[in-house]
Symmetry: C2
Subunit: 551 residues, 2 copies
């Protein structure tokens, strides 16, 4: 197998992702395998999770590209080897020579495409190769998939509640769990359906659209419009210059103050804020979006914004809108919308009423849902902390389990039946029904013939005998593809672009039967095994369980 360079696969996005980013016990095990002469035995591991997050019934798989980047460039440096030697001082030299020689040219990786909707127990990735090498991959693979899939799923759930027509902005960098908690959040929230991020580094690295305006500090850093030095503003078409934009704004403000519909709503507005808005508009006359809640939204922020927006309008510019970052977002957005509509009508400014309203301030799935129920006039949501830290469930819990070694199937038993692993190298299929919805995922042994369109396929619960049904699929999709063929002759799937992964995610979410996706009491999607795999699981189980114990 070609290595990373030859395959044209660049290194992991985060330079900290190296072969050393793994648990020490992967090295102590590797040494024990090596000492026992077992290190080259061919092992198959499944990477999967046991339970969908956030009380939902689906998960979006993400993180694959970073895993492939790691293995495509997997090689220990001399310095890393020296370090390992220092922490394993009693291990023999030959082992470190072996470690130095390791790459992933004899590892095979099969995976469900990134951005797919996935379910518990079905392997997201199947990794096959020399047992010592594949064990080293366990920790980084699980690390790279766990949070990626969790936050992508979280983003997709926010998109689901917000609805397709809303703009969703990821504002999480400052509250993320560390620098690449922030970077990963930006990438995976985009895959999960967000439209843009505030994170400039993520914009550069991944090409994600960027959004951002100004903060409360910007507003409070100004004192009064009197201090504004540069007062002129060129008109949009460049044909003229307004010599005193400040005066133009003040003129509009007093017109608004005299407008009958606004009587009693506002009087004297905050002058720091007015100065900040004028300055921001002068810098970005084509893209004037103001944060209006530093002092008081309806008595200061919105009137100040409108005065500046109307002055811009006089010069041929169209303001972008406002952002609300505190208070009762439903109420304030409705009041702001009314204000805009009055202006559109009173002053004949076409489109002023549909000015964009962005809301932020500790939003999450629940608050979005509550806003929907109350009714609101928000066009775009900026979401941070709850989204990127996955506050309601901060970890997914992926595992990486040995299912076969030297062609011998392996099963991990547990008193907790949900923790029993499904043995054997498998092939997995998604069966689709008449209406185009996926009906069930089925896992089968590698050498079984795939389910056929139009033919009855027995789908069994892996552990509960009575749960089984025949399904007649209208379409059969093999779930895992080969992303790293190792020494096999298989073709390597190309890694799709970020936008393609995002599009796949959108299409996959779209395609699910709605009752699996709803927030309240969603219907579990069925995951099954073939009749042959079922029998085999239970044969192994019986033979592995301690003698004399009824399980």
């Amino acid at each position: 197998m070609e290595n990373g360079d030859a395959a044209g696969i660049s290194a992991a996005t985060n330079p900290m992702v190296t072969p050393l980013l793994t648990d020490l016990y992967q090295f102590t095990m590797a040494y024990a395998y090596w000492k026992a002469g077992k290190h080259l035995e061919r092992a198959v591991f499944d990477l999967y999770f046991r339970k969908n997050p956030f009380g939902g019934e689906y998960t979006v798989f993400a993180g694959l590209e970073e895993c492939i980047r790691l293995i495509a460039n997997f090689k220990f440096t001399g310095e890393e080897i020296s370090f390992l030697r220092s922490v394993m001082p009693t291990s023999e030299d030959g082992f470190f020579d072996y470690l130095r020689s390791i790459d992933c040219s004899d590892v095979e990786v099969y995976a469900i495409p990134e951005g797919s909707v996935v379910f518990p127990k079905v392997p997201l990735m199947i990794v096959e190769g020399p047992v010592a090498v594949v064990q080293l991959l366990e920790t980084p693979f699980v690390n790279l998939v766990n949070y990626a899939s969790l936050v992508t799923t979280n983003a997709s759930r926010h998109r689901f509640v917000a609805g397709k027509s809303k703009t969703l902005l990821e504002f999480g960098l400052r509250r993320a769990q560390g620098p690449d908690g922030g970077m990963s959040a930006s990438k995976y929230c985009y895959i999960g359906g967000f439209d843009a991020t505030s994170n400039a580094a993520a914009g550069r690295l991944f090409g994600i659209p960027l959004r951002g305006t100004h903060s409360h500090a910007f507003v409070s850093s100004f004192m009064s419009p009197d201090q504004i030095v540069v007062k002129g503003l060129r008109s949009h078409d460049g044909s003229s210059t307004c010599d005193d934009f400040v005066a133009l704004v003040r003129n509009w403000l007093s017109k608004l103050q005299r407008t009958e519909s606004f009587q009693g709503i506002f009087g004297e507005t905050n002058q720091s804020e007015l100065a900040a808005f004028i300055s921001y508009a002068s810098a970005f006359p084509n893209n004037f979006l103001a944060l209006v809640d530093t002092y008081d939204v309806m008595r200061s922020g919105v009137p100040n914004f409108c005065a500046v927006a109307l002055a811009l309008n006089d010069l041929g510019y169209k303001a972008s809108g406002i952002r609300l970052d505190s208070g009762d977002l439903a109420y304030l957005s409705i009041e702001a919308r009314k204000f805009f509509c009055v202006i559109e009508k009173a002053f004949g400014v076409a489109g002023f009423g549909t000015m964009a309203i962005t809301a932020s301030n500790d939003l999450n799935e629940e608050t979005l849902d509550a806003l929907n129920k109350q009714g609101h006039e928000v066009d775009a949501f900026g979401i941070g902390t709850y989204l990127v830290t996955c506050y309601t469930q901060a970890a997914l819990g992926c595992v990486f389990k040995l299912v076969e070694i030297n062609n011998q199937p392996r099963i991990k038993l547990s008193e907790d039946v949900t923790k029993v692993s499904i043995p054997c190298k498998k092939r997995c299929y998604r069966l689709y029904g008449r209406e185009g919805y996926p009906l069930v995922d089925i896992m089968a042994r590698e050498n079984e013939s795939p389910p056929k369109v139009g033919e009855r396929t027995l789908c069994r619960h892996p552990f509960i005998e009575s749960k089984r049904a025949y399904v007649v699929p209208q379409h059969v999709e093999e779930l895992l593809k080969c992303y790293w063929p190792g020494n096999s002759s298989k073709t390597r799937e190309e890694l799709p672009s970020l936008n393609k992964i995002r599009a796949r995610c959108m299409q996959q979410l779209e395609q699910m039967r709605p009752d699996h996706m709803r927030r309240l009491n969603p219907t579990p999607y069925k995951v099954s095994v073939s009749a042959r795999l079922y029998d085999f699981i239970h044969y192994l189980w019986l033979n592995e369980a301690p003698v004399g114990e009824l399980q």
Copy 2:
């Protein structure tokens, strides 16, 4: 001010931490400041949090070193400037020349030492400098402090429950929020009181002690001791070689089976497991620690372990212990301990009864507490998911607020009084009482004279008039020190080593009055302002609030 190289401060640990790792709006604001000729105005920002995490009444401050590393090496690359130009196409060339020229040589950073116990509202860091530059620092500083402080605090809480005598191991890499979620967790859990990590990369980068043995997969990858090829094992003192270590182990196993106290506890043990233990012991005869729950702890894992440990003992080696990763940890640890004690007595193996027992499996503060209440025989805890993702509260919520610009104090009002910022550049003190405990933190205006030992100091709640008290301190500690003097003549505090930060954290936690630290209903620690600052806050508040509104 010298730059990073001259100051001998290396770049941020994570190479992704660059000046571009910030929110886009910091750049759009910088442009608006620049356009308004305000970008060099000297601003002071406070970085603080509003509420202690995890339902507790204290927080440990961490992340400072990474912030200082960022600013010591703060410089945009040509490529970053080009990128910014592409996302801000209407901005003038002069602005990008300005950005290119920016470093942090005229920024001053004051901070509480890393590893200190800290409280809400008191600035952890005070950052002073040109407003445009300091704004750029907002996002990365908050990012670097938020998770660092949160996870350090979480680690310290786990240490508190576990007690000083237990060994605490951080096993979180695979479940952390991304690669440096894992790296940061390892670093900050160590600061917060953990003894070691499983994360090999963190061991190398930070010099944290490493720990690790083997996994369930290692156990299930073996079939039977019959397949073990290399059977010989040299004795500890090198004087002899046991030709058939497997036979020696089997011999011990049958002795154990015949031991009267073990009748009815176990019969035939699992042969995969036995083979795995023998192989692991052959690789690490000086450090044999076995995971004993792959099949059945008391009927297979513990007897298999003991047979191998006793065989090692015959050759002069002392086994390290067992790890339990499932089931009823309290019960199993007690049963395993009994088993060890029987062996110590029956076969006269000194120290066998005090064999170390490590427990893992989704541990957290609550489960540690429950184990303590039930009674257990665990010596070391391996903690992952809940610790590193801060599952019970995944974000701290630090903020960065403008408190002064051009020597003008600024206040950010809010309908929610906990969100009102405390204006002015401040000096902060911790006042200690007769018994050596900290009594109260007090913030004062910069030019006020510090509280004096033995003199009455009026400490006021910043917002509630009736909450005030005189305190006579026995010791006064100024909280913030200068870590980056900029152009001032102050001396720069050296960044302490990781072990010094950890020692400070231990000492600080130790020093607190116990009722602030307890898990259930801890007493809030008082944070106050001086009488002068109190008056000033309320003067500003009144003058900034919208006219005619009673607040």
